[in-house]
Assembly symmetry: C2
């Protein structure tokens, strides 16, 4: 490598900006806490339903409840045994649908396989569906073309958080080519729609895509949501691309202090050398997902207050 390319590369490196999801999420949570504190007596409430004892689900649910608490949002926990019946869950949701202290209902996924996840998600009243997974809200998102923070319905928290990160980082999306890796109902597909609504040109790639690297290499913005540790390498990126890494993967660290560490779907070190802006894992999209849950709960509360 000649010294001038070395220099060019280090300049690029120097320009590469870490999108600090942790800090952005903290600011948003502070803002929400202030708004909630300023409310009269009645506060927003979030019901969190957990089935079984998956450690990751327990961790997420605890984080969500704590986040509520610190923002002044009341949280109601409903923990069920692995063997709970569909009927009991549906009854619980029905009660929460009618409970006017509750403005958001969250069913922690995945559910054990004997439960019909679709039916349970559908049973949540769309106005309280802060995860944006009810068909009414899924349809609303597909038909919506306004600003993501002005939607009169809930948008799934993770892709919503990615949009806020892009906006806060002043990434221009109009006419930009965005490549979304992954097409799940929870992340990839709603993300694609949200980018399209912001006038990006959108490509969705997935496990059946051929030449995935060539596609990623064209992208101005890459959103990786595949659940494959460090799959996207630096040399897959166009120099100056913006990278949003949704992935949370646990990899073993033999000989390390801890037995495992969390990494994204992007190979951070090599990508950082090429990207203009990039989210780290942890500390990127993860904290935004929780901030958006609080935000959706507050927004849901505000819409309900207006109605009454």
């Amino acid at each position: 490598m000649t010294s001038s390319t070395e220099e060019a590369k280090s300049e690029l490196n120097a320009a590469s900006q870490i999108i600090d999801g942790k800090a952005i999420a903290a600011r948003i949570r502070q803002d929400i806490a202030q708004q909630v504190a300023a409310l009269a007596e009645k506060k927003p409430g979030l019901a969190v339903i957990l089935v079984g004892s998956r450690p990751d689900s327990q961790t997420y649910v605890n984080m969500k409840k704590k986040a509520c608490e610190s923002a002044g949002i009341v949280s109601f926990g409903f923990d069920f045994d692995e063997t709970v019946t569909q009927e009991v869950l549906l009854e619980t949701v029905q009660k929460l649908n009618q409970d006017d202290r509750v403005h958001g209902i969250l069913v922690q996924l995945p559910l054990p396989s004997h439960l019909d996840q679709d039916t349970i998600l559908k049973s949540v009243h769309p106005d309280k569906d802060v995860d944006g997974l009810h068909p009414t809200n899924v349809a609303a998102l597909q038909m919506y073309s306004g600003h993501f923070l002005e939607a009169p319905f809930s948008i799934p928290c993770t892709p919503l958080g990615c949009c806020v990160l892009l906006e806060q980082s002043a990434v221009p999306l109009r006419g930009a080519h965005c490549v979304v890796l992954g097409r799940s109902q929870l992340v990839g597909w709603p993300m694609a729609r949200l980018l399209l609504a912001q006038d990006a040109t959108v490509t969705v790639v997935h496990s059946k895509t051929r030449n995935i690297e060539d596609m990623v290499r064209q992208a101005d913005v890459v959103v990786a949501a595949v659940g494959r540790a460090q799959m996207v390498k630096g040399d897959w990126l166009k120099p100056g691309a913006v990278v949003i890494d949704v992935g949370i993967n646990s990899v073993d660290t033999p000989g390390g202090k801890k037995p495992y560490k969390l990494v994204g779907d992007v190979d951070y070190d090599s990508a950082k050398a090429v990207a203009s802006k990039i989210t780290p894992v942890p500390g990127g999209v993860g904290p935004m997902t929780i901030a958006m849950l609080l935000r959706n709960t507050l927004a849901s509360f505000q819409r309900m207050q207006k109605q009454t």
Copy 2:
């Protein structure tokens, strides 16, 4: 041009296959007619609501009613004056929702601007929404990954027709790069989802896309639904690409026999020289849209019969 490239080009030409939508639609309509003829006394019924006197809407409505007739499907016409109120329309839809002779309700679009199109489309019972535009059906499509002809809900007729054309023409979609031009609720966006559900890699381009030609040039399959006469030129295409032209544009033909003619969004002559398979306009997607309307009405009838 050397003589060998001339030859190569003419070989390519020779290989270029016209996707005969008219013939495929005719076969489907015949098949539907046979199925309807084999039914016991009760026949499928389609209600067609037309507001105002736009000549194009009148033409489409007449074609749809005639197509019903020739397939043995009963059609019920509801023609309203331009000035009809929202209330009268909603009442009409309500009655049709309850009428068990009616298995499909179609509201011809566009509606005059004093009417709230969204509210009226939402008022159609999802089970009778043969256009697939009710939010319940929009959401169902976003969450569906099975075969398009096995969906237990209605899929918008035009993109559904495009899928049938691709299937009948044995175009492999898994892993293929499909570029959809246009992102409307009626065509572009549901088409993108349908292609993704068939494991294609999908790019959606629109009026804000930069370098649209470069994007189209990568496509194994191009679906054009922009409403811009002959926009996509032959030299935008990768040799051997498959081209589905949804556009119906009327262009003046000064000095011609008729004062105008219908052309697609693709420049047929130059595209035909490069594409491996291509739909003509007219005679491509257009006839399929009507065939799919009959098909959706029959499918809707069959689902309702099962329920009772």
